[in-house]
Assembly symmetry: C2
Homo-oligomer: 683 residues x 2
């Protein structure tokens, strides 16, 4: 927005006051997630080329590596050459990192991640009971960095911080579309920046088996098109995550979602096969046969191998969306059920899970699975991963099951951050007792990978996942959506410093589509459209797992910033706010751009057949611009439009609600508001 172009985003607070979790919106720091408590002093600590760090108390390789990375990122932002070696612990050292001990450092739940930051004009002290707490605090210090014409500085604050939930995860499905080591590492960096602590690695699916098995090599050899992680690479990722205080929980989804297993080992299936890797999205029939001992023998060996490879206490067994159609058709399975009094497929899957649980217990792993695994008779020491919602989670908690929430956090569905910001694993109106509430461990954002490649995945994860990270870390009362978006815009830039590509890849993709550098008109269109939400993409624009994800829909981003800006300006303009004149000028500029861009796109589309699918959108962009401009003119002049104008204009606006290329406008409501307001103008 032009009016804010040169206003400092970060406003310096000039008097000291305390912000508790109950009044989180006052200070304009760009902290995300918002810490549990902040106190401001009216002073600052300069960050110049003398900036150094010392450790106090415990120190170890992981802490030192974290400090090194911290210094390199600080250098990157300030373009200052700093001495990144540890300084002596004295009163002259700008930042002291004081750590009580290494922490439990266990590969499971329950590490103390709290920290305190105290910044005065002389020194900053970050203190934490554990190395992970210190690592969390270093991220906050980086977010505190600010600058003005006198140089870079850290504002005088005292921060006391700790997470609300102990399980704050991101699931990445590397099975439907394979993702590279590079993708995982930069996303682990992004997670650490947002203080997330669980990387849930969805490693197998109908569409691919993505980890090397030395015991059953046909799993990865025949189930992956050659795209899998070697065990060495798995270890590298686990070490990389551990360095950042992130646990790695692997998922092997069974008994359904298992086509890729059966390509190499059809004898495990409930139908004879042969099987080929699934290329479509959806729910498929292949399922392991829960009635055969060989299957459990296989799983014992395989999960034993994986249990040794992945040190975390938890192992996710999926368990979702098995409809049991293969079971229904298999006479041997039916006979087994009859013989053993297993009354239906739910009961059969419960039997399978009970056997699986024993195998996991033997290999010292706690079992976690999706909602469906919660069947009568399931022992209490499993974790329910809820895609169904908080009610299911609360019900499980009442029964004594630990649980985590993913309902509402499905970032693949292209919903805005504001929508993901609302669901709370433990909402204000929860009726759980404090004891029951302890079973609610947190939640996970889920990046299902039907429609993402290494080129686009970051833009589907970030920055929206930061809003979910905040929900899981910050006090429950931190719910101010405009303030969240204000901070998210800043955080989004910082995330790209870590190698993430959610912003920078878009123009590259537009250049490829346009086939030259002149992407202006297409960029204008793309800034006001979004991919269709939920599961409508495939319905409207079917593709396979082998299709190119290089279309306009792939370049378009979720949660359009321009869309939000437009809507806000329309409201302010119509409400006759103090900046009415300014917003009028801005809106006029924007609507004019749409008119021009829509027209300019025609020759662009003519030379790029891949753009043909958006031709109606270009037409509608012009229409929206022209209609909005007319409304703006009537409103500005205080001149009533002709009688039939409202109806005709609304018809044009309605036309623009139709999606094309599985893309839809996000500015229709605002234009409609302008039209309706203009139609009310009286002589």
């Amino acid at each position: 927005m032009k009016i804010n172009r040169y206003l400092p985003i970060f406003l310096i607070v000039t008097c000291a006051f305390v912000v508790s979790a109950q009044q989180p919106s006052t200070p304009k720091l760009n902290l995300m997630p918002v810490p549990a408590s902040i106190t401001f002093h009216n002073e600052r600590l300069a960050v110049d080329s003398n900036f150094r760090v010392a450790t106090r108390g415990h120190s170890d390789a992981r802490l030192q590596a974290a400090i090194w990375r911290f210094m390199k990122r600080l250098e990157g932002r300030t373009v200052l050459t700093l001495d990144s070696a540890l300084a002596p612990d004295d009163q002259m050292t700008p930042l002291i990192v004081q750590t009580a001990g290494p922490g439990k450092n266990i590969p499971g739940l329950g590490e103390d991640e709290s920290y305190r930051i105290d910044i005065t004009r002389r020194q900053a002290i970050l203190s934490a009971p554990t190395v992970i707490g210190a690592i969390r605090g270093l991220e906050t210090v980086l977010q505190l960095l600010d600058a003005d014409r006198n140089g870079y500085f850290l504002p005088g604050v005292q921060i006391d911080d700790r997470p609300r939930f102990p399980w704050r995860g991101l699931m990445i499905d590397v099975a439907r579309h394979f993702q590279t080591m590079e993708v995982l590492k930069r996303n682990l960096d992004g997670m650490a920046a947002m203080k997330m602590n669980v990387f849930h690695w969805h490693l197998s699916e109908d569409q691919g088996f993505r980890v090397e098995s030395k015991k059953f090599p046909k799993l990865h050899q025949l189930g992956s098109d050659g795209n899998y992680f070697t065990q060495e690479q798995v270890k590298e990722i686990i070490a990389y995550a551990s360095d950042r205080g992130i646990r790695v929980v692997p998922e092997f989804d069974i008994p359904g979602h298992s086509t890729s297993w059966l390509v190499g080992y059809p004898e495990l299936g409930s139908a004879p096969g042969p099987y080929t890797i699934e290329r479509r999205p959806g729910i498929f029939e292949p399922a392991l046969d829960p009635t055969r001992e060989e299957v459990y023998k296989f799983l014992d060996t395989f999960l034993g191998e994986m249990a040794a490879l992945f040190p975390d206490d938890y192992l996710h067994i999926g368990g979702d969306e098995n409809e049991g159609k293969q079971w229904d058709r298999n006479p041997a399975i039916q006979a087994y059920m009859k013989k053993n009094g297993i009354k239906d497929n739910h009961a059969l899957q419960a039997y399978f899970n009970t056997r699986l649980l024993k195998i996991l217990q033997k290999h010292k792993k706690k079992m976690i699975g999706w909602d469906e695994i919660l069947q009568p008779g399931l022992p209490n020491d499993v974790v329910i991963h809820s895609w169904r919602g908080t009610a299911a989670l609360a019900e499980a908690a009442r029964k004594g099951y630990d649980g985590i929430l993913s309902n509402g956090y499905y970032i693949d569905l292209i919903q805005p951050a504001s929508q993901h910001y609302v669901p709370d694993p433990l909402p204000a109106d929860s009726t759980l007792t404090p004891e029951e509430a302890k079973h609610v461990l947190g939640g996970e954002a889920t990046m299902w990978a039907e429609w993402v490649t290494p080129e686009t995945i970051d833009s589907r994860i970030w920055p929206r996942t930061a809003a979910i990270a905040e929900r899981l870390w910050s006090p429950r009362t931190v719910t101010d959506v405009p303030d969240m978006y204000r901070r998210l815009a800043v955080i989004s830039l910082q995330l790209e410093e870590l190698g993430l590509t959610h912003k920078r890849n878009q123009e590259m993709m537009l250049r490829r589509l346009v086939r030259n550098d002149d992407i202006g008109p297409l960029r204008t269109l793309v800034s006001v459209i979004e991919p269709v939400k939920e599961y409508r993409r495939y319905q409207q624009r079917p593709q396979t797992m082998l299709s190119p994800l290089t279309g306009v829909i792939d370049a378009a981003l979720p949660d359009s910033e321009t869309g939000r800006k437009f809507q806000w300006m329309v409201s302010e303009f119509l409400n006759d706010g103090p900046r009415f004149q300014l917003y009028h000028a801005e809106l006029k500029q924007m609507l004019g751009d749409w008119q021009t861009a829509g027209a300019s796109l025609n020759p662009v589309i003519d030379r790029s057949p891949a753009l043909k699918e958006i031709k109606p959108l270009a037409q509608n962009l012009s229409q929206l611009g022209a209609t909005g401009m007319e409304a703006l003119t009537y409103l500005k002049l205080g001149m009533p439009p002709p009688r039939e104008w409202r109806e005709q204009s609304l018809a044009k606006v309605d036309e623009a609600t139709k999606p094309y290329g599985a893309l839809e406008f996000v500015v229709v409501a605002g234009v409609k508001q302008l039209v309706n307001a203009a139609a009310e103008v009286k002589q």
Copy 2:
């Protein structure tokens, strides 16, 4: 340039004619490097969702992988879902890849890389004697892809192509700044797209030792800060390169440039040590001691290990820039020289090289080294790598030495592509006999890495290296600079499809500097400045190898497109060409933008201390804009300026020639031309 915004870059040639190497500028194909010969037919082969490939004759895993990658890139550009599995070889299959055999497939020189492409309205046939020839031809087919409103198509052409030189390399220094696997892989893809065939891997330097040695682990453990390639990773890179028809020639630079070796093994040095990894740029004293048998024993073991790891016939031993100062000061070395009649340090290094040559011969490697290794008595079977120039190369060739050229191809020096385009390993005026000329094998672009990180290195390599690739592949007569730049602009976009980041990272870097999304004014400034050339960066803005490379100088690109465009418009405008009016409008717009951007930058700089160093540039940008605008006005109105105007204006323009932050304007000459022309206006 706005005037060309919607003109198709690729003009369809509607009549059949032949273009030999003697008249290469006529057809507007975007082929790079330009092939040896092209014939056009007036027809086209449609590329739609039925596009498939069949092989004919020889087929193997490498060819099939290349076809798979070809299909995926074709899909990426067209957003068509194609069947990438091999089709049957029949008349209905759109592309036949006909390969005579696997080729010698040796890890050395001399593979036949020729191919022929024949495209009619029915079918395209790519035929080649070897798999590598077919791989080269597939890149040409991708470059031929064009489109109009009827869809994607391949133009009807017959192309006969083969390289002019057999050694067309890119050297990447991974020692001064470490580069990741990802960086190397995407650059290998870029090389393959430009038909380059040698990746020269500069693996050791004073500032770092970058490969795992199992024989002497302290080399990488103490000499690399933990940043080195494991032997598994080396194998992965070699396989990746080989898949793309690229040889991998490792370099271990000795006896100088070896500080990092001596950190772990000080006993190899010519002074007692201890040594630490060098952090500065420059030439340093540490050198191996050529008078001690233990040194040769060490080298025998180490080079034996590396010879087994790197399958290529050649191994580069550096040999450059050893000034022998440690040798001068070491009494034992001086005594040895006296005793053995070694008269000076040149002779001592020649002795060292002779010993080294024997070791390499024992391990079945051919020795290659920089100019300095060419000393009297050196056997003929070594290759001279010339940083000195074509004269040195010709001299070596006369003496019977093979040689490659890098003088003129130092892409780290930030010179424009037009400058790198000129040097020819075998220039037109060469006086070498045909027999002698065969010793000139080709050349290499050299990416010395004092000032590049994984974030910026691509922008220092691409797209300029494509011009060097063309020099080494295309007929000698292909020298049309404007046509080269026309094609380079298109090729540059295509290179980013391979994951290269030379364009996309710039705005990310500007956002980090500005600390928000409003990078407009800074982008305008950066578009008309370049980093200072040759070795002036360090002189004007000294940094160490540990400094952040995130400043404006790092975001600024070599070979400014805007600068070339401005200069060209000024010429056309002043020459009163047919588009005089249009260029006037364009120039007015551009000069106006400079005025505004220069002023707008002040508040941006105030909140971003990292930008302070460019404050005078912002001021000068406004001045250049204002002065140019005045000149434009006088010229347009045909009104003579006041008498003192020329002098005052030229003084302002001269002020803008001063570099700040090691950055300089590239539009000064054009503004000066405008001023001088305006000053000549008569009443």
